[in-house]
C-alpha cells in the first residue's frame, strides 16, 4: 500500500530531522514551500471535496477524512520537532547571554570592592 510507504518514510524523515536538524537556508525554503503548499491544498480541498477522497483511494486509504487525519498527525510531529529544536537553540543563546551578564556584573562588583579598599 502506498500510504504505508508514505507514512513510514515521513516518520523516518521526522526522526532524521530530530537528530540532524540544523537551521539552514535550505530548511527555511522547505518550511516556506511546505506552508504555501499546505495552504494551496487546503483551498483546493475546500473547493473540490471529492478530490480528497479520490486521492485517498489512490494511495490506499478508504476515506478522504482518514487521509486528512494522517496528514495532520505527520504535520503535528514535524511542527513539534521544529519547535523543540528552535526552543533548545534559543535556550542555549539565553544561557550564554545570562552568563555574560552575570560575569560582567561580578567583574564590576569586584572592581568596586577594590577601589573602595584603595579609597579607605
Amino acid at each position: 500500500m502506498i500510504i504505508k510507504l508514505l507514512l513510514i518514510s515521513s516518520l523516518a524523515v521526522a526522526a532524521l530531522v530530530l537528530i540532524r536538524g540544523k537551521r539552514s537556508a535550505l530548511s527555511l525554503l522547505m518550511r516556506r514551500s511546505l506552508t504555501l503548499g499546505a495552504i494551496g491544498c487546503g483551498v483546493f480541498a475546500v473547493l473540490f471535496p471529492s478530490t480528497v477522497t479520490q486521492v485517498a483511494r489512490a494511495v490506499g486509504v478508504g476515506r478522504g477524512a482518514d487521509l486528512l487525519l494522517y496528514a495532520l498527525c505527520v504535520t503535528f510531529l514535524f511542527v513539534s520537532i521544529a519547535l523543540y529544536l528552535r526552543l533548545s537553540e534559543m535556550h542555549d543563546r539565553y544561557v550564554e547571554l545570562a552568563r555574560r551578564q552575570a560575569l560582567l556584573e561580578a567583574e564590576i562588583l569586584a572592581e568596586r570592592d577594590r577601589s573602595r579598599i584603595v579609597g579607605a
Binding site: I19, V95, A98, R99, Q101, A102, L103, E105, E107
Partner: protein, 245 residues
C-alpha cells in the same frame, strides 16, 4: 564576627593552604542554610572560592560573599551545569586559575579530599582528577543510590571507554587547558556525564581519587531522584547523536 570565623576555620584544619593558583567553583541554588560553613571550610584550604548563585530566591549569594567567596549571580535559574560552566569561565578568564576544583554546595564533600586531588593533579601532571566515592574504605552510600550509581558508572565505562568507578561525583579537578576546552551544552543535571564523555573524547589524562561523601539529611533532600538517571541517559544519547551528525 565574620573575620573570627574565618580564622577559626583556618586554625582548625591540619594542612596548609593549597596553591594560590587554584580556584574552587561551587554552584549553588537556595543554599543559605549551609553555604557559610561550606565556604569557610573551603577557604581554610584554598584562597579563591567562586560561588555561582544560580538565581537563588534566598540570600545565599550575600552570605557566600560575607564568608569570603567571589560571587557570580545568574539573573535567573539556568541549571547546575550552566552554573558550573559560568564558574569555570570566571576562574579561568578573570582569576587566571591554573587548577579549577568543582565542589558541591550542600557540604557533602571533604575539602581535604579536594586539596589532595589538586596535589595529585600537580604531581602527576594530569588534566583531570575525578572524585570517586567507591574507591575509599569508608562507604556509607545508601542502597538505592549505590545501585543507580553503579549502573551509571557501568554505562559510562561502556559508552566513553573511561575506567571510572563513580559517574556522578561533583568533586573534580580540572587543569587550566582542560577547563578552557570544556564545553557544557547540557545545562541541567546531566553535566557530570557530559564532562566524562568530553574527557573520553578529547583524550585528556585523568585519574580517579577516593573521596568521602557525607550523606546528611540536607544533602539527601537536595539530591536528585534516582529516576533522573534515565533523563540523563536520554540527554546523553540525544546529545551524542546530534553531535555525531
Amino acid at each position: 564576627m565574620e573575620k573570627s570565623g574565618d580564622t577559626d576555620a583556618r586554625e582548625s584544619t591540619r594542612g596548609a593552604v593549597s596553591g594560590p593558583d587554584t580556584c574552587v567553583v561551587i554552584p549553588m541554588f537556595n543554599e543559605s542554610g549551609v553555604i557559610t560553613d561550606v565556604v569557610r571550610a573551603v577557604r581554610a584550604r584554598f584562597d579563591h572560592v567562586i560561588c555561582v548563585d544560580d538565581g537563588s530566591r534566598d540570600d545565599c549569594g550575600a552570605l557566600a560573599r560575607l564568608a569570603g567567596a567571589h560571587v557570580v549571580r545568574h539573573p535567573t535559574n539556568l541549571g547546575q551545569g550552566a552554573a558550573l560552566a559560568t564558574g569555570i569561565r570566571y576562574a579561568v578568564d578573570s582569576l587566571c586559575a591554573e587548577y579549577v576544583v568543582t565542589f558541591d554546595a550542600d557540604g557533602q564533600h571533604d575539602v581535604n579530599d579536594a586539596a589532595a586531588m589538586v596535589e595529585v593533579a600537580r604531581d602527576q601532571g594530569l588534566q583531570a582528577v575525578l572524585g570517586s566515592r567507591f574507591l575509599g574504605d569508608r562507604d556509607d552510600v545508601p542502597a538505592t543510590r549505590r545501585l543507580v550509581l553503579k549502573a551509571a558508572a557501568r554505562f559510562t565505562r561502556a559508552t566513553t571507554g573511561l575506567q571510572v568507578t563513580d559517574a556522578h561525583n561533583g568533586l573534580r579537578v580540572l587543569r587550566r587547558d582542560a577547563a578552557r576546552q570544556l564545553q557544557l551544552r547540557l545545562h541541567g543535571m546531566s553535566h557530570a556525564s557530559e564532562i566524562l564523555s568530553q574527557i573520553g573524547r578529547s583524550g585528556w589524562s585523568y585519574a580517579e581519587h577516593p573521596v568521602t561523601i557525607s550523606y546528611t539529611d540536607y544533602s539527601r533532600a537536595k539530591g536528585q531522584r534516582s529516576y533522573n538517571a534515565l533523563n540523563i541517559a536520554f540527554d546523553l544519547a540525544f546529545n551524542r547523536l546530534r553531535a555525531a551528525s
